[in-house]
């Protein structure tokens, strides 16, 4: 199967550059197409035929941006006119409406089967006249659902132009969605097990504007998926090329350099261009799974136990072996022992499940830099590929937990905008690595200098947290005590809920730990915030990406002369955000002023560097005057 690293299984073409590779793929994929289709036993009808691929076998390939309306160009057999330009990719047949892979039909049919079976259950259990209704429903399902799968398939088409991706869908309501190529942030190719067997893939197109996925092509052949991504990327590169060439010579130079390299030796250059930043060998994936001990998995295991009936299971396993008889007896004898065994079992299962889930997710993880984009690929049964444009990274987050930290392991996440809503704007860059390695990779994403020490917040925060926990505890305990029946458990004449107050020292310890693990550093390049006892975060918030600056002081904080401050960034998650809680009020104010001052200075310097003079917008006299009429109107109002 074609590895995305080498971008296709084809051999390097002499003197070819990007466009040759794209074109060559289409050349070689045509003969392959029928072969791939025989896997699923369906016809090759919707896919590229020889005639369609023939035009783009033309080596002189078009630059799509010099040919602005390829979408409007009539299909004259030569869909892409070719001025002699370094067009890196061909549209090929992609400029005409394409259907999804025929195997999609099979997949959708299979996916609808569970619903059908559910409808059929009563009929199968009791095939008599009573179940006419279900039989009727089953037939209705066959009459409505199956043709609708077919119709949906035939009414769905996609095509690419140099400016946009156009997806048409809908049986009754036609939807015509066009996604501007320049707004595409990420083209993700996903394959689950079935898809990999059939050599097909799902293509997800994500854009900056929307939080979710803008367009999904489910499924196309793997070759096609990679070709779509390749074409979109090269169109984007061309657009940026064109823009930067006029604006900034420096960056244009560097990109041009890439391109000219590409034209000399595509394969070698591609390797050079792709710097592998991080790789996870198998034992590292296992190791990371062992640290990913999550209570969630234990909860899942417990909920499964509910259905499994552990007693019978244990009986079945243990009673069959007489040497364990004493063990079984012990379990029956002591409920406490039974509970401990169950919890240990659940913990073990939870731990093993965690390892398995982690293995499935991060198997073969590797991360590499391609131009100005981070790309990653990982997964065992479902291979996921992802792209993180460096310029869209808003903040970096180092994560760890006490156990991982004790052994020196960390994870790195990037907070980005306009990507998968599943990951809530936080995308894993390095799942599990040594601190130094995490910092190295992090610096490739964005230059930063992690401070050695963090400034602590006010110790009064311990008191505030402690009071808060005690109030929360009382809110739970008080009603419980009130409604506690007098004949229920009341050790030492105190109703059981009162005993919850024995947790008090623990709450105090917790409040103290939160204090010791909370800190911040204002450094020249940004704000660094550390937070969390179990889930430990270190945020790197670059000055350049800061957005809105806040201080807040609640009525309780004001009594103690405290304030919190917070710098908003784009794409931050709602649950754990980088706030600095409970610092002395004047420190909070001066910190915020310093942060804003750095932000302000940074942009003033940039303006000076770009224009050669200070920002002229600052004085209102130099500001262009608004129309006379409007001003008079205001004067009256």
């Amino acid at each position: 199967m074609a590895s995305p690293l080498s971008n296709g299984s084809h051999p390097p073409d002499s003197g070819g550059n990007d466009h040759d590779s794209g074109e060559e793929r289409s050349r070689e994929s045509s003969p392959q197409e029928p072969a791939a289709d025989t896997d699923g036993g369906s016809a090759a009808e919707p896919f590229g035929t020889m005639e369609e691929t023939a035009p783009d076998a033309d080596p002189e390939n078009p630059a799509p941006d010099t040919q602005p309306t390829a979408s409007d160009a009539p299909d004259d057999g030569n869909p892409v006119p070719n001025p002699d330009n370094d067009g890196p990719a061909t549209l090929g047949e992609l400029h005409e409406p394409q259907r999804l892979h025929p195997l999609t039909l099979l997949q959708r049919f299979l996916a609808s089967l569970p619903a059908l079976l559910l409808l059929m259950v009563p009929v199968l259990m009791n095939p008599s006249g009573e179940n006419v209704f279900y039989l009727f429903m089953t037939v209705a399902f066959g009459v409505i659902a199956l043709p609708s799968i077919l119709l949906q398939y035939y009414r769905f088409s996609y095509r690419l132009t140099p400016k946009q991706i156009i997806i048409q869908s809908g049986v009754f309501n036609r939807q015509n969605r066009s996604i501007p190529i320049e707004r595409v942030q990420n083209v993700q190719i996903e394959q689950n097990v079935l898809a990999r067997v059939a050599n097909i893939a799902k293509v997800k197109i994500e854009t900056a504007g929307s939080t979710g996925t803008e367009g999904v092509l489910e499924y196309v052949s793997l070759d096609e998926a990679q070709r779509i991504r390749h074409v979109i990327r090269s169109f984007q590169r061309q657009t940026t090329n064109a823009e930067t060439a006029t604006e900034q010579d420096v960056s244009a130079d560097s990109i041009d350099g890439d391109e000219s390299d590409a034209s000399t030796s595509p394969e070698g250059e591609r390797r050079a261009e792709e710097q592998v930043l991080f790789r996870m060998p198998l034992q590292r994936v296992f190791l990371s799974g062992m640290f990913r001990f999550s209570l969630v998995y234990i909860a899942v295991v417990f909920s499964v136990f509910q259905f499994v009936e552990p007693d019978t299971l244990l009986n079945y396993v243990l009673a069959s072996r007489s040497q364990f008889q004493s063990f079984v007896d012990a379990i029956y004898a002591s409920p406490f022992f039974a509970a401990v065994v169950t919890i240990l079992f659940a913990a073990l299962f939870g731990w093993l499940t965690g390892i398995a889930i982690n293995l499935n997710r991060y198997y073969g993880f590797h991360l590499w830099l391609e131009g100005d984009k981070l790309r990653k690929k990982h997964g065992l049964f479902t291979v996921t590929e992802g792209t993180i444009p460096l310029e869209k990274v808003q903040a970096l987050i180092l994560r760890t937990n006490p156990l991982m930290e004790a052994f020196g392991w960390f994870a790195l996440e990037a907070q980005t905008v306009g990507v998968n809503v599943d990951e809530q704007g936080h995308r894993v860059v390095v799942p599990f690595a040594r601190r130094e390695q995490v910092l190295d990779v992090g610096r490739r994403v964005r230059e930063f200098d992690l401070p050695d020490s963090f400034q602590r917040v006010s110790p009064l925060t311990i008191r505030r947290s402690f009071v808060r926990y005690m109030v929360a505890l009382t809110v739970v305990v008080a009603p419980a005590v009130y409604f506690w029946p007098s004949d229920w458990a009341a050790p030492m004449d105190a109703a059981l809920p009162y005993w919850a107050y024995t947790l008090t020292p623990l709450l105090l310890l917790w409040a103290y730990l939160q204090y010791t693990h909370h800190g911040y550093t204002l450094s020249d390049d940004g704000l660094y915030i550390r937070r969390g006892v179990i889930s430990r975060y270190i945020w790197v918030l670059p000055t350049e990406k800061q957005h809105v600056f806040y201080t807040t002081a609640s009525i309780f904080q004001r009594r103690l002369g405290l304030k919190s401050f917070f710098v908003d960034t784009a794409g931050a998650a709602g649950y754990a955000y980088p706030e600095v809680v409970d610092v002395p009020a004047d420190t909070a104010d001066s910190s915020l002023y310093r942060l804003y001052d750095r932000f302000h200075t940074l942009y003033q310097d940039r303006i000076r560097a770009a224009t050669g003079s200070a920002d002229t917008r600052l004085s209102s006299e130099e500001r262009p005057q608004l129309p006379e009429a409007t001003r008079n109107e205001w004067a009256e109002g």
Binding site: Q394, Y550, A553, S554, A573, D597, T616, L626, G637
Partner: protein, 174 residues
């Protein structure tokens, strides 16, 4: 601070601009309507239990709600108004507000994605408008300044728009 830039150091309370005083009336009317409805509901509840076995004598519950309603509709808007202050500086919008939680917000103008001026029916009667500032930040992606004179709101909007349009860097705000 040590740099020559003017931000925030000048943030003394006397420089802050207040909202239009009529905003208090608007808040009072809106909250008063809500409080009145609630008070009536509670009153009818009281009435329905007039001859029942109630822990409280008739009218006490209604009185409590009425007093709270007066606080909510008449006193609170005054406090809100007194705590509201903003200033549109050359490069940022600075806002202070909040009765229980004092919140100070600094929105750099270059971070603003777009601006809206809106007005509801009641605000129209008082020719008030609210300026809604959208940023790409995630916690509260829009900052609202209520109770501006509509003309003033539009003037601020145009001025900020001008600032953004003239940005020599012309960068994507994200």
């Amino acid at each position: 601070m040590e740099t020559a830039s003017p931000p925030l150091e000048t943030a003394s309370a006397d420089e802050l601009q207040s909202l239009e005083p009529s905003m208090q009336t608007v808040w009072s009317i809106k909250r008063g309507a809500f409080a009145t409805i609630t008070a009536f509901a509670v009153f009818f509840y009281d009435l329905a239990h007039l001859f029942g076995t109630s822990a409280l004598p008739f009218g006490v519950l209604t009185a409590i709600v009425a007093v709270l309603g007066v606080l909510y509709a008449l006193i609170w808007p005054r406090l809100m108004y007194r705590n509201w202050g903003f200033s549109i500086r050359s490069e940022e919008i600075y806002i202070e507000h909040g009765v229980l939680n004092h919140i100070r917000t600094v929105v750099p103008l270059r971070r603003i994605q777009h601006l809206d001026v809106s007005q509801d029916l009641l605000e129209r009667e008082f020719s008030l408008g609210r300026l809604i500032v959208h940023t790409a930040g995630s916690r509260s992606s829009d900052v609202v300044i209520p109770g501006l004179n509509l003309k003033e709101a539009e003037r601020i909007r145009d001025r900020v728009k001008q600032f953004i349009l003239e940005d020599p860097l012309m960068e994507d705000p994200v």
